[in-house]
Amino acid sequence: MSNVDLLYHELLSTFPEERVSRDEAILTSYSTDISSPPGVATLPALVVLPQTTEEIKILLVAANRFKVPVVPMSRGSNIAGLAVPHKGEVVVDLRRMNKIIEINTDAAYAVVEPGVTHHQLSLAARKKGFINHLPTATGGGSTVANYLMRPSGNLSAKWDPDPIISLEVVTPSGDVIRTGSASFGTAGWRARYGPFPDLTGLFACSYGTLGIVSKMSVKLYDRGEEERLLITKFDNLPSALEYMKLIVRRNLADSVTFWNWVWNMFHELMASKSEELPKEMMKEDQKTPPPGIPFGIASARLSGYKEVVDTAEKTCIRLAREHGGEYLNEEEVKSTHPGSWEYLYSFFIEGIHPKPGEESTMRRAMWLPGWLINAEPAGILELEKYMWEFAKKEAKPPYMFRVLPFNHAREFFFAFVILITGTLDKEREYMLHLKKAYAKLYHELLAKHGAIMFRFRQDPTFLALTGPYGDLLRKTKTILDPNNIMHPGVNLF
């Protein structure tokens, strides 16, 4: 019997048969995601659906004993291959741990399991008068997994870009560790920091390589008496960046995001349901918008008491004007950019992602994994230029490469999403080629622009650049996971 067979039979003594599978079709459905090049896939050894922390513990202890590697998967909507097996691991699918355990309106936090979706939490929080961080990702994605990978921090950037408070983590040895105030057992889940070093942060961006997060407490933010979407248009990025800095740092807006014209055209496409990409969107010069279309728009969320929001809105409009921008009132945006309004209102005011699929994919085209890059504000223009050049270099017929940057104001994330169009037959080679090009980008962006790419993409040499910091992490990894069973395919260590 192989170790996987031994593990399978051991798990059947705890798990009902309908929650442990080695069925070929089931395994196959877990083998690929949007980042998998055509024809490239590895089957998981098993798929297991735990429902409790105790079941995760039993599973990890057994996997550790038999030295069978595992891939944690919360909802599976990762687009970078971080929730699919790479070496025949066991997929631990956490989607059935989907309870919102607590919404504490007094201390403004929620405790959730990893299978809870953004939509679930957002709805529950709003019913209680709160909002939560909402990333520009799919609403069906896992809040826990997304927050652990650094969310893009929309809606609440002015307060704190890190929404995580405390965690419950199960390690391969079977320890159930609680961090933050939850570590004391009786102190609740309300605080990230206590008298000791912060272990919550250790597990953020660890991509399931140190243990499985089975619970998380997250910050909630008061919706306010009034919630308002403020749209301004700009002819260039530097002006928009200055405006964005001011309105967030001086607490006028909860958050603000800048969308260049290609994005806005994309939003219009969502609303129109057209199958064809507009010709303007596909033109060679991606930096110049078509006549009559603004270079980009900044969407800001304002909230609070009505009088305060009225004043904040007036001030934002004044600041936009002072920086060369122009305020677009609601009726104007609805008539000229109906798709953008629909998207942005749903997202920033209702706290709900537009209808699934629409925010993530596009007909007749294909997304490639994007980047979330953190850089100095002053470096963003150079960074943008560099990415345009990168796109131009990599755009080989029949593919069209579109760079769709958008900016978040708090930490100056700069997000690039790449869209390709073309035929299918050569995609495999092309995607494999691009994966190599991506790997080089990490190093080049850091070296040339001091920019850090988030959303780790399986490049073990990247951690090496951090020197003693990486050494300490490796030692910690050895303590927590001596047999390296936790998601080894991620290649973090």
Binding site: T28, Y30, T32, H119, G139, R363, W367, L424
Partner: protein, 407 residues
């Protein structure tokens, strides 16, 4: 690239584009993200969702997986209810269930089909119906009605009863009421009696596209010979077949197809029928998948309907019945939870079909309604079976039965 099964390239591309968000399994904000996919709720793995199925389709196309028992087991647990297509914005194929239909066709080619479906198709081949009943009994439902037989005399409108009603005596009142109502409104209606044949829709949904084509041609020949230009049915499955599948395959010709609710709504608006008797009852309405999302997408693409229109006729009829109070379930219209009878599940996985029906019945009970109304005999059959097992106490009616009461 392909080294595996034949699959429309667009369907394959759909598989490469899915972000596995799982949104295909829940309704949108108007349902507060409640579950809408029965297989996902029941079988729990990601596999049992549109997202999971497209990954299987992708692997089959790429030659990483063969059509085998394991694949067939997954593919045939789906009720083909189309709820996933309501949520996934990528689904804008001619038919939202096109991927499912293609995969099932590949299962048929590979001989990987549930035994119960093979038996149903054998019955179809022998007796021209999906229930394997003697075809000579097909017209019994109309005995004593004295309605025109279109194979013998001319009529303006053909009423197609459908296999489910013809061979299920408990459901005969639906067809009898429908014909009575049409005649009371002065419509020149006829039936085909024992010469009626299966629409082929269920065969199509099970993956037997050849059988579907055969029956589509047979039905159209019947209508052509009888000079029929208008077809009405009280079977939502049949409506989907005649209205969408025949059209998609270029078989519908210039025949106008109506579900009985659409036609009754017209007759009521034109004042040809008047609802005057009180039916004092609190009811909720269950949207059949085949009289909703599975038809709407096609009609919208063809420009034959406005968004939401397909759901309105039954509601308008119910609201027009004196004394009747209609209370909506939260999962309604495009977000409706399936009755459980679709996609051959009622045959191959009857326990799952009943489980699915019970979920809906419990939801209906929560509204405080005394009765759940539907407009499809397959829904009524499955709900009634579930009710008989649960002794839940909710009454199940087809909409035409209430309309007849209200005259």
């Amino acid at each position: 690239m392909s080294h595996g099964i034949t699959l429309d390239e667009r369907l394959y591309r759909f598989g490469t584009m899915c972000v596995r968000g799982g949104c295909c399994t829940v309704g949108y904000k108007d349902t507060e993200f409640e579950p809408i996919c029965p297989i996902y709720e029941k079988y729990q793995f990601f596999t049992y969702s549109l997202g999971g199925m497209v990954q299987i389709g992708r692997a089959l196309y790429e030659g990483r997986l063969e059509v085998n028992q394991s694949v067939s087991n997954v593919i045939y647990t789906c009720m083909s209810c189309g709820a996933c297509g309501e949520m996934c914005a990528e689904v804008d194929f001619p038919d939202i269930m096109q991927l499912q239909h293609e995969l099932r066709a590949r299962c048929v080619e590979a001989g990987q089909v549930p035994y119960e479906h093979m038996a149903a198709i054998e019955g179809l081949k022998k007796e021209d119906n999906m229930l394997g009943q003697p075809k000579a009994d097909r017209g019994k439902w109309a005995e004593g009605l004295d309605v025109k037989d279109i194979t013998k005399e001319s009529a303006e409108i053909y009423f197609h009863a459908g296999c489910r009603i013809c061979f299920d005596e408990e459901l005969w009142p639906i067809a009898r009421s429908a014909v009575n109502l049409l005649r009371k409104a002065g419509t020149d209606v006829g039936i085909a009696g024992k010469e009626e044949t299966c629409c082929g829709g269920r065969a199509y949904e099970l993956g037997y596209h050849g059988e579907f084509t055969k029956y589509a041609e047979k039905n159209m020949e019947l209508l052509k010979t009888a000079g029929i230009k208008t077809l009405i049915t009280a079977c939502a499955d049949g409506y989907y077949a005649f209205k969408v599948l025949y059209d998609m395959m270029g078989k519908r010709g210039d025949v106008e197809v109506y579900h009985i609710t659409e036609y009754l709504d017209r007759l009521l608006r034109a004042g040809k029928l008047k609802l005057t008797s009180k039916v004092p009852m609190k009811v909720t309405y269950h949207d059949p998948c085949h009289l909703g999302r599975k038809v709407e997408h096609w009609l919208l693409q063809k420009g034959e309907a406005k968004p939401g229109e397909i759901y309105q006729a039954p509601r308008d009829i119910l609201r027009g019945i004196p004394g009747l109070e209609l209370i909506e379930m939260r999962r309604n219209r495009g977000n409706a939870w399936c009755c459980g009878a679709g996609g051959g599940v009622i045959d191959a996985h009857p326990d799952f079909a009943v489980w699915t029906a019970m979920e809906r019945i419990n939801e209906a009970k929560l509204t405080g309604a005394e009765a759940m109304i539907t407009a499809c005999p397959w829904c009524k059959r499955n709900f009634t079976d579930a009710m008989n097992k649960s002794k839940n106490g909710l009454k199940i009616y087809d909409i035409v039965e209430l309309v007849e009461q209200a005259l």
